[in-house]
Symmetry: C2
Subunit: 358 residues, 2 copies
């Protein structure tokens, strides 16, 4: 899922996103709640209509941004009180209000409110956050079902088909993860996500937790790994059962000049590209590589032209979406293991060092 | 001609520009000379190849930007010495070097170097600039023909089909304009532009000068009015014989939230659009109006999302290009006068005041 934090994927239009083949996007409840407000969006008929994007949308619960962006947070069993980073206004987010806000925003998929502890954290803190998340899961699900049953006519509900995903917490502790899975399944959601990873833990630890957790989640529902990751993280996680991802890497890194290729990322700012008339990646069918050279992209970036962000974003999103398409094909043909070995042997995590030939 | 100052029209890709139907774009010699340098562009095969734009390009001479952007200019009969606004480096622009730089940049149309006095200026200053411009016209044309004849093998020349336009000066003085036309025609260029207008003079004065000057220029060549203008300026100037325009208004104003419609510009920042679910303009076939509401565009602008600039720019460029298409059709059908009356009676120059119904 490309990330459209404020209802737009930075640097690209909805038109372009459709042309790239994105089948679903993510938008952030926290940002949209504060501006333009879920009320305005509900009255416009929900997010799809408001932002002009006809394909599925998933919104997060807003919790993660409250903890990373908002001012003066007070967390309690009831929920979290915070002040807007925009104007300092006081807001409260509870398991119930997260449902109501997303009911008004009206994406196809709403996420329950969870508590995601920072990493590293001691086991007792992670356990406390996990058990609270389970209590919030129950409250969030109850509210979702009540709203769906018509018990809250005051909440505008432009999308009656909305579903709700639960979130598994438990940090890097397998036993806590297992208890979280058990409790979340007991509450019962339309599908399940793994939260609290990609927050700084070593990549092998993450893969281990994904491996153990994904196999405990229903295989007939999408399994969503939140906030991940690099292209090789996606491949490794899919091998462990994950179906759905969101990540700002392809878009944010594009704006910083990092471009993904099958051999790993390159940094377009590098002086060695000043005269390089090749496309970012030979054979790439993205709109940028069809038309523009590394030399031009480097120049546009150095000149601070906003078109640089757009062209870089188009390439990176194409790379991610195309990689996912290739993986789906490989799975369909029963050749995923082989495909994965080939991909990982070509892909290098670090930008190439100066002087190499890439 | 949409303006792609630094080799990219701000906020839109070359792909999008082609889809909008732009048949030619303008790029700025001053900016490209300083960065990435005309040498680099020549080695990449010229501007078309470097920026990935296969349709015609026109470059200005660089003179206008030297006077509006560069530091510590010293103007003499030889040319103008200035310091780059980027790094303070000393450069010289002469009628000959303007030709050489544009030979390397390799657009389809190169402009001669002229001297454009500020407005208002006394008649003797305007006359001095006009007569110098005539001497520069001769030097620029001589250099252009020499380079074309192979007399300067040291100047890379990726586009042997390049043509050169002359520029008429003379401010708002009809007699000076007439002398400038006569002298410039005597030098003899592939086509002719009217410079030194749209610099602050009243619009009726501009129309008067355009009227008198255009009729003295060959009707079988494009007549180019430089740096103009608003949609009604275009219509009025076409009625007076102009064929070609460049202007930053559609793109720059888009980035500031001013959107053009058949009834005049609107300011999308206005609070009255917060809940307005209509497109910018009913019936508009631009990609933005096909998909997005005023409410969404206002919100994106207020949120500072770069996609706002892109969507606004797509609309404004479509409006300009579509207006030009309609004019060409009307001329073809012999109905331009009627079309013009209809257009001007609907079009209002000022953004609508608060409280009106637009």
């Amino acid at each position: 899922m490309p990330v459209g934090t404020r209802g737009a994927v930075k640097g690209v239009t909805a038109d372009a996103l459709e042309s790239l083949g994105a089948s679903i996007m993510l938008a952030n409840t926290y940002h949209l709640h504060l501006r333009p407000g879920d009320d305005l969006i509900a009255r416009a008929g929900g997010l799809n209509r408001f932002i002009g994007w006809p394909r599925p949308i998933l919104t997060d619960s807003g919790g993660y941004q409250v903890f990373s962006l908002a001012n003066r947070r007070t967390l309690s069993e009831g929920g979290v009180v915070f002040r807007s980073h925009l104007d300092g206004a006081k807001h409260e987010l509870t398991p119930e209000s997260a449902v109501d806000v997303q009911t008004r925003l009206a994406p196809d998929v709403a996420m329950m409110l969870d508590e995601c502890p920072s990493w590293p954290a001691p086991a007792d803190a992670v356990e406390a956050a996990m058990t609270r998340t389970l209590r919030w899961a129950r409250r969030g699900r109850d509210r979702f079902l009540a709203v769906a049953a018509g018990a809250a006519p005051e909440v505008m509900r432009p999308n009656p088909g909305q579903v709700q995903f639960g979130i598994v917490q438990g940090g890097t502790f397998p036993d806590l993860r297992a208890r979280s899975v058990e409790g979340t399944l007991e509450v019962g959601f339309d599908a399940y996500a793994i939260g609290g990873l990609s927050v700084g833990e070593p990549v092998d630890v993450m893969y281990g937790i994904v491996d153990e957790t994904a196999r405990q989640l229903p295989a007939d529902r999408p399994r969503y790994l939140m906030g991940t990751g690099t292209p090789d993280d996606l491949v490794e996680s899919i091998a462990r059962g994950i179906d759905l991802f969101d990540c700002v890497l392809p878009t944010r890194n594009a704006r910083n000049g990092q471009l993904f290729t099958a051999e790993g990322p390159i940094n377009i700012k590098n002086a060695r590209y000043a005269h390089d008339e090749r496309p970012i990646e030979a054979g790439c069918r993205c709109p940028t590589c069809q038309r523009h050279s590394r030399a031009y992209l480097r120049y546009l970036f150095q000149a601070g032209e906003m078109t640089a962000a757009t062209l870089n974003t188009l390439h990176n999103l194409h790379f991610y979406l195309d990689t996912m398409r290739r993986i789906r094909d490989a799975i369909e043909f029963g050749t995923f293991d082989e495909w994965k070995r080939g991909f990982l042997s070509a892909y290098s995590r670090r930008p190439a060092a100066a002087g190499d030939t890439r």
